[in-house]
Each structure stands twice: as structure tokens, then as C-alpha cells.
């Protein structure tokens, strides 16, 4: 007894020729797709049974990935438009059927179908979405011309059916021009309204948090004193909240400034220190790296040995990037460097020297100031 391999489920793939029905059947039944198509075509000749079966399968066979857009290899709308043009040629035969010129109804229906297809199907098809508006405009234009011709014919030859059909065609054609524009505009307006509502909601939340939580955090810091543990936590929370509230609205935010603020926030979490960062001018990300690393060392130094309030001032001029880190600690003599400071001082001064800049440390009774300077090249980049 041989094991029967499980059949793949009957599913239509998102990348199809027309509908994916034949391909799905072929895969499910494990037969060549040509055979399946041949059988469907043969059935179609039996009073249209194949067409019915095809339409039924198209409607009921589920798609493999319902959320993926279907991409069709056949340009359906263009083919419909071509067929409409061919049908219109029959008008030249001047034959009548039910009081209408032969081919007029078919041509109008095919062109209308082309318009509907571009709007309903092709707009979501990545392969045809780009060309869909052009096809739609052509089909609409075709309908208007066809309708005009039919109406003229109807009035001239007193065929009321032709006149009515012609007028309807003109209307449908004009709708093909106008309706998508209206729909598009309405969709865009709805989107704008939604975006405005989101912005307003966000700014309302921001205003509320600003008036309540930020105030409270400020009061906590104020009550607890700059160097205390509670103030440190409140300060860190305040920065985090403020960054979220005012993301992107800070007029000073250059890359170096952002980097320095991040460093400051990290250190505030680890040490009992309050770091204020003031930045002037704009700095590119690349050139700020060595400076940011040196400033970080200076800040770690200040946070460990001084604590309390520390000010960072960064200024970018065309000539140089300069950063000053100032603390209010007891200070030390940079000439007689204690052991603990040796590595830190080396990592600041040495690092800046390697990057082509300078660093100086001045210390006195009322605090220590580290001055980091990196000259910029004439083209604006770092030296």
C-alpha cells in the first residue's frame, strides 16, 4: 500500500494570470495547467458550462493570502477597452437590432466595464495601479465619443433608442472622468481630518501632562534638593517624559546636542547629579563623535567626584566645536593629579589630541571646568 501524498489545498495565489482559478485547480489536482485550461475551454463550449464553472470557482475559491494585493498578468482593463473598440467597429455595418445600432450596447458595456475594472480592481493591483488612470481616461474618452456619435445618429435618423443610449454613454464617460477625482479628494480630506484629530489629541495629552505630572516632578526635585536620590529619579523621569512630549520640537536639537542629552540622562540615572545641556549651532553626527566621547568622560568625572549641578555648554562655530563641562565640586589641582583622576584626565586630553583637538582642565575652589575643542576643516568637516 502506497502512501497518498496530501493534495495541496485549493487556494488562489496572489500572483495570477487572470483570476488564479486554473492555476489553483492545476496545483490541487496535480495536473498540467494547460490540460485544466483545455478542459475549461471545452466545457465552455457545452452551452457555457465551463464559463459558469469558472465564475463559480472564481467567486468561491479562497485566496492563499487574503491580505496580499492580487497581481494579474493580463491587463484586463486594456483588453476590455480594446474589445469595446472592436465592438464599436460593428456600428459601421449600420445594422439594427431591437431598434439599436448593432454593437453599440456591447461596446458601451465593455468600455464601462473597463472603467469599473480600473477603479475597483486595478487600483489595488501593484502591476497595473500606475497605468490604471490612463486606461480609465482612455475608456472614459472613448465612451463620451461613442455616446456622442450614437446620440447624433439617434437624432438624425430618429432612432430614440440610440439617442438615449448615446446620452447614457456620455454621462457614464463623464462620470469616469469626475468620480475618481471626487473620491480621491474625499479620501484625502478624511485622512487629513484624522491626522489633525490625532495631532490635537496628542497636544492635549502633552498639555495635560505638562500641567500636572511635569509640575509635580519639578516640585519633588525642588523639595528634595538637587543631589538627593529622590530628586535624581524625579529628574530622570522628567527628562524622559519631556523628550516624549516635545520630541522634535526643540529648536536647539542638533546631533551633538541630542547625544549629549542622552549621555546626561544616563548619568543622572546612575549618579546624584543634575546636568543641564545647552547647545548653540548645528553639529553633524560624524564629527561630533570624538567630542561626545570626551564630554562623556568629563561628565562621568563630574558626576562621581562633584555631583550636584553640572552645566554642559556646546557651541558649534564654522571654526570649531567647543564644549564646556562645569561642575561645582571641591575641585582638584590638575598638576598634582590624584590616582583616581589620572585615567579620566588621560582619556579626555589624550582622546582629544588623537582626534586633532585639544582639552584643558581647570579646577579651583568653586568647581572644575573641562574645555574640549575640535577645530573644523574649511569644508565644514572635522579635522
Amino acid at each position: 500500500m502506497t502512501a497518498v501524498a496530501a493534495r495541496p489545498p485549493l487556494r488562489r495565489s496572489p500572483d495570477v494570470v487572470l483570476s488564479g482559478v486554473a492555476a489553483a485547480l492545476a496545483r490541487h489536482l496535480d495536473r498540467p495547467i494547460g490540460v485544466v485550461r483545455l478542459i475549461l475551454a471545452a466545457l465552455a463550449l457545452l452551452g457555457g458550462a465551463g464559463i459558469l464553472l469558472y465564475a463559480w470557482l472564481w467567486a468561491l475559491v479562497p485566496r492563499e493570502r487574503p491580505d496580499a494585493p492580487v497581481s494579474r498578468r493580463v491587463p484586463v482593463a486594456a483588453l476590455l477597452l480594446g474589445a469595446a473598440a472592436l465592438a464599436a467597429l460593428l456600428l459601421l455595418g449600420r445594422e439594427l437590432r431591437y431598434g439599436l445600432p448593432f454593437g453599440g450596447v456591447e461596446s458601451a458595456l465593455l468600455a464601462s466595464a473597463a472603467i469599473a475594472w480600473t477603479l475597483g480592481v486595478d487600483a489595488r493591483d501593484p502591476r497595473h495601479a500606475g497605468r490604471a488612470p490612463l486606461v480609465r481616461l482612455l475608456a472614459s474618452g472613448f465612451l463620451v465619443v461613442l455616446g456622442g456619435a450614437l446620440a447624433a445618429l439617434g437624432f438624425l435618423t430618429t432612432l430614440p433608442g440610440a439617442a438615449v443610449l448615446g446620452l447614457v454613454d456620455v454621462l457614464v464617460g463623464l462620470a469616469g472622468f469626475v468620480v475618481p477625482v471626487i473620491l480621491d479628494r474625499a479620501a484625502r480630506r478624511a485622512e487629513e481630518r484624522a491626522a489633525a484629530a490625532r495631532r490635537e489629541q496628542r497636544s492635549e495629552i502633552a498639555a495635560h501632562l505638562h500641567d500636572s505630572v511635569l509640575q509635580t516632578l519639578a516640585i519633588i526635585q525642588n523639595r528634595a534638593g538637587a543631589g538627593s536620590e529622590v530628586a535624581r529619579i524625579a529628574r530622570a523621569q522628567e527628562r524622559e517624559l519631556r523628550d516624549w512630549l516635545f520630541a522634535g520640537t526643540d529648536p536647539f536639537a542638533g546631533d551633538l546636542a541630542t547625544e549629549l542629552r542622552t549621555i546626561a540622562r544616563e548619568l543622572e540615572l546612575e549618579h546624584a547629579v543634575r546636568i543641564e545641556v545647552v547647545a548653540v549651532g548645528d553639529v553633524d553626527e560624524v564629527e561630533s563623535h570624538a567630542v561626545a566621547a570626551a564630554v562623556r568622560e568629563a561628565l562621568v568625572n563630574a558626576a562621581r567626584h562633584a555631583g550636584g549641578e553640572v552645566t554642559v555648554y556646546a557651541e558649534a562655530t564654522p571654526a570649531a566645536i567647543e564644549v564646556f563641562v562645569r561642575d561645582r565640586g571641591p575641585g582638584f589641582d590638575p598638576g598634582a593629579v590624584p590616582d583616581g583622576r589620572l585615567g579620566i584626565r588621560e582619556s579626555i586630553v589624550g582622546r582629544m589630541a588623537r582626534a586633532g583637538g585639544t582639552a584643558t582642565v581647570t579646577s579651583g575652589e568653586d568647581g572644575t571646568e573641562v574645555h574640549v575643542r575640535l577645530p573644523r576643516r574649511a569644508d565644514g568637516g572635522a579635522a
Binding site: 519639578a218 516640585i219 525642588n222 536647539f252 543641564e276 562645569r326
Partner: protein, 216 residues
């Protein structure tokens, strides 16, 4: 003692501040919104109004609206802006309206008392952040733009830039004076003249910036 009016919509903050300042100044009253503040200023005529930048009431203009509506008293009443956020747009509006300085709410009681005394004496109070903004707004980092004369409104003189830089670096007025070998009075004069430029300048960047944020 300096007569001070506290204007802030948070009663906890007001009472905390009142307790902090008890030794240093005389708190003559409190107000919690724009209209109450304008009334209290007209009635009590305090020397200094400690003014929250974000205030409810009135036409929604916050602290700046209080200053504008009390404009005819600006000679006698001085405003010191208090803000919870040290973002420039919060502060510059109220400074441009006529306030003499700005400090953050995280400042200690001692710092607030010092700032009140400075403002009461007719001088200006700049935080490092505000000094940084001034340097940016007047294009100090751009290099060339230095005022030849001190009374030029749209640019800072070299001395003013020097003072602003040191304040931005966290120096107190006294330290700035020591560092530059000038008197504290000179430092205060320069800061006041920068404040005047900040209030009166029609410098393009500053105005455009303020307009964009609807501060003018």
C-alpha cells in the same frame, strides 16, 4: 523686604514656594489664573511678580498675557518668569512681553530668592538655557555678526557675547565678573542690555522663530 506676588495655578507649588521664601521676601498675595493675576497686580502693586509661564484663564495667553495686560505698570512692577520646562519657546514669549528674567521651577529656594532680588533691583535674570537661546537667535555661533556699537538692536556686542557665553557655561554673575575682570554691576548692565535686545529686536530669525510658534 521685597514685596512679591506669586502667580501659579498649582496651590502645592505656591505654598512650597511661600514656605521657601518666608525668610527672604514678603509674599503679599497669590493668584492662580490670568484674570486673578491681572487684578491682584493692579490692586497690590507688588515689586516683583513671580509668574508661571503656563497659566489657565484669560484669552489663553498664559504668563505672557498677564504681562501684556499689566503693561502700563511695567515701570513699577517687575516680572520674573517661572517655567517647569526650560524650552526656549515657553520662555521667550513671556520675556518678549516684558518679563525681566526667567528661572526653572527646579531652582532651589535660595536661587529663587536671589533671582527675585536681582529683578527687584532692575536687573535681568538669565538661565544658562536662555543665554544659549540668545546666542543662537542672535547668530553668535555663526561667527561674523558682532555689533560695532552697543546700542545696535539686532546683534550682540563682543562683550555681551562674552557674558552670555559664560552664563551659558553655568557661571553666576559674580563668577562672570571675576573671570572677565569687570565689576558685577557691569555684568548686570550687559545682561540687561541683552534682555532689552531680546525684547525689542526685530532680528529676522528671532521674529520668524517667534511667529512660527505664535509668540508674537
Amino acid at each position: 523686604m521685597t514685596r512679591v506676588l506669586l502667580v501659579d495655578d498649582h496651590s502645592i507649588f505656591r505654598s512650597g514656594l511661600r514656605a521657601d521664601l518666608r525668610e527672604a521676601v514678603e509674599v503679599v498675595g497669590e493668584a492662580a489664573d490670568v484674570d486673578a493675576a491681572v487684578r491682584a497686580i493692579a490692586e497690590l502693586r507688588p515689586e516683583v511678580v513671580l509668574l508661571d509661564v503656563h497659566l489657565p484663564g484669560g484669552a489663553g495667553g498664559g504668563g505672557a498675557e498677564v504681562v501684556r495686560r499689566s503693561a502700563d505698570l511695567l515701570g513699577e512692577v517687575r516680572f520674573l518668569a517661572l517655567s517647569v520646562s526650560d524650552s526656549a519657546e515657553d520662555v521667550v514669549g513671556v520675556i518678549r512681553a516684558g518679563a525681566r528674567g526667567y528661572i526653572t521651577k527646579a531652582s532651589s529656594g535660595q536661587q529663587v530668592a536671589d533671582a527675585i532680588r536681582t529683578v527687584a533691583a532692575g536687573d535681568a535674570v538669565f538661565s544658562p538655557r536662555l543665554a544659549g537661546f540668545v546666542l543662537d537667535a542672535f547668530g553668535a555661533a555663526g561667527g561674523g555678526a558682532v555689533a560695532a556699537a552697543d546700542d545696535e538692536l539686532d546683534r550682540l556686542s563682543a562683550r555681551e557675547q562674552e557674558v552670555m557665553r559664560l552664563i551659558a557655561r553655568g557661571y553666576a554673575y559674580k563668577e562672570v565678573a571675576t573671570r572677565l575682570y569687570i565689576s558685577i554691576k557691569t555684568v548686570e548692565t550687559r545682561v540687561s542690555s541683552v534682555l532689552r535686545k531680546l525684547q525689542l529686536s526685530s532680528r529676522h530669525e528671532l521674529t520668524a522663530w517667534a511667529l512660527e510658534r505664535r509668540l508674537l
